[in-house]
Symmetry: C2
Subunit: 349 residues, 2 copies
């Protein structure tokens, strides 16, 4: 792939900002991230090549992030890098896939300098270590006036025919979720710095916790074996617990009841609820959680709980699937909770 | 992955332009492109899954395209789609990989409407049919003020350990190239419509031919078996014949002599050379050719020529590799041709 030189005279002054050739840029900042990745060939060829076991299949997922849409252009480069990888690993984790490698396409605005690239690579490196995945290839190009746009395609493996689908839930299955829900939505409110959020009665550590949940999501990758063994369906929570649960329902041709009071919330979030600053609906529809929703057959519940505990992943039973087509989120008294929307749709808002 | 609702109030008026939800948009325009693609699951899950034969390995390549850089924002949607897929299939073809599927990440500006999406999907469909590849997944998001940015990750298969690398050339190997070189660079000049190009002594069919070579590159996918059987190294010509040949040289630790007069040029290009309107150097350094450069051992030359003919791919012997580290492009008299640059570097220009 190449650029239209003639079409972009504005690139002529690029040299002043970034004297690196594409070759040098890749060698300096990205090649170290491909160290030891089988088939990456040190990013020296036009393609990577993977072998997978004959009893395995490849799981592939793609997520793109655009500055000003999925993150703020002035977020730390290391945080942007972490998030781009985390949101993709989140899909692998929910499919019970073992992370293998990822490909990164990067469209860099002129304003990006070497310091930014260095920190970006450090963020990728930290995320790679956390998630057990390595860089296998990609493409680096310019988008002169921005926005910075990243696209990651992540690869993982599962035993043949064993990818955990979102359409496999059965009536009677219980609905589980990992971690805590809604922290990231609160972290985003803190990040945007509206006057409301700045006056929240939280201490600095609590603020940092929520911000970090937004900036550095950490999908529960170690739940893989438990999902593979016991889940009839799973997906990650990215657009909001309510909308993602409704998607699992409609993919599986089922309905579900969710007990809102059973949805796990963090201590800072609980504190804001108790102070009546936010409602539970903010947490259930906020999105960016990167936790996992899983349908677990009743008979497998005990084993799933035990395997999740062994993997050190907190899980909570929040509901059950039914033969109808309705998703109901119920409060403590069994009354349907009023939600303004179920969650986020990229195109409708 | 989700968007930061709070961070982009400008999306509120998006509804007027594109009342489709992301779900509907995918169902209407992209799901048909995944019809019959194994593991794509009708784009209904968070990931795709592929099985490959136990005697095969997966080849993966990524190329990103940005409006105003790699194509013009007002190019036809169908042409943009074709090119995004073609430049990726070009890498698969050069690695002797059999196309399997591709993942598409699309960041759409607000200005894109349903008509554009419909034509874009038609362009993808045409390219899929031409190259024998199908859509397996991806991500569709908004980049409100543009530019339109696309990233494709394409997957193919080769027999285990048989991906044709760019570093495998040996001293004495001959250098071959497919098709004709430089047409796309001329097509780009016609596309930008400078006064020079508009006065070129070409008829309408010749202009269309060159433009089409720029807008709708057609990598020689059927050369796969011939490359697999005979090539010691290969890569696609994307940044310019001269620079790409120099990259094959340095990856292989060799030098090469290229006989400029042996480089195949089209009839319209030849006509412009004869009229002394362009020089051969324009063609050799222009880029965007999406042809294949291959190193062929002397002993395999006859068989390679015969297999290429059987695949209906025109090839030309343009040079040979030597033990030194110098790439020389020589004219008819054996004198080094003066080239202003070898080709295109995304970051240096």
């Amino acid at each position: 792939m190449r650029c239209n030189t003639q079409a972009m005279p504005q690139q002529d002054d690029k040299e002043r900002h970034s004297p690196l050739s594409e070759h040098d840029l890749i060698a300096r900042y990205f090649r170290p991230l491909a160290d030891g990745v089988p088939g990456a060939i040190g990013l020296l060829d036009d393609a990577a090549s993977f072998s997978i076991g004959s009893d395995e299949e490849l799981v592939v997922t793609t997520d793109a992030l655009v500055a000003g849409v999925h993150f703020f252009a002035d977020d730390l480069a290391a945080d942007i890098a972490w998030k781009a990888l985390a949101v993709n690993v989140s899909d692998l984790a929910a499919k019970a896939a073992c992370p293998l490698a990822y490909s990164l396409a990067l469209a860099l605005p002129r304003s990006v300098d070497e310091e930014w690239l260095k920190e970006f690579a450090q963020g990728l490196d930290a995320a790679q270590t956390a998630f057990g995945i390595g860089l296998s290839g990609g493409d680096t190009t310019v988008s002169p006036d921005g926005p910075l746009t990243l696209s990651v395609t992540a690869f993982g493996t599962v035993p043949n025919q064993r990818m955990v689908r979102r359409n496999g839930a059965k009536a009677g299955d219980t609905l589980y979720v990992t971690g805590t829900i809604g922290d990231s939505a609160l972290g985003l409110k803190l990040r945007t710095g509206g006057s409301d959020a700045s006056s929240w009665p939280l201490d600095e550590a609590q603020r940092q916790f929520l911000l970090n949940r937004y900036l550095r999501p950490a999908p529960p990758v170690t739940l893989r074996a438990a999902l593979l063994a016991h889940a009839s369906a799973a997906m990650d929570v990215s657009d909001g617990l309510a909308i993602d649960a409704s998607r699992m329902c409609s993919a599986s041709g089922l309905g579900a009841r969710i007990d809102a009071s059973a949805v796990p919330v963090s201590q800072p979030a609980l504190q804001l609820i108790k102070a009546e600053i936010i409602g539970l609906d903010t947490l259930l529809t906020g999105g960016d959680d990167y936790e996992i929703l899983a349908a677990i057959p009743l008979a497998a519940e005990a084993a799933f709980r035990s395997d999740a505990a062994a993997a050190n992943i907190p899980i909570a039973r929040i509901g059950q699937f039914f033969q109808d087509n309705e998703l109901k989120v119920l409060d403590k008294k069994g009354k349907p909770l009023r939600l303004n929307s179920l969650g986020y749709d990229h195109f409708r808002r």
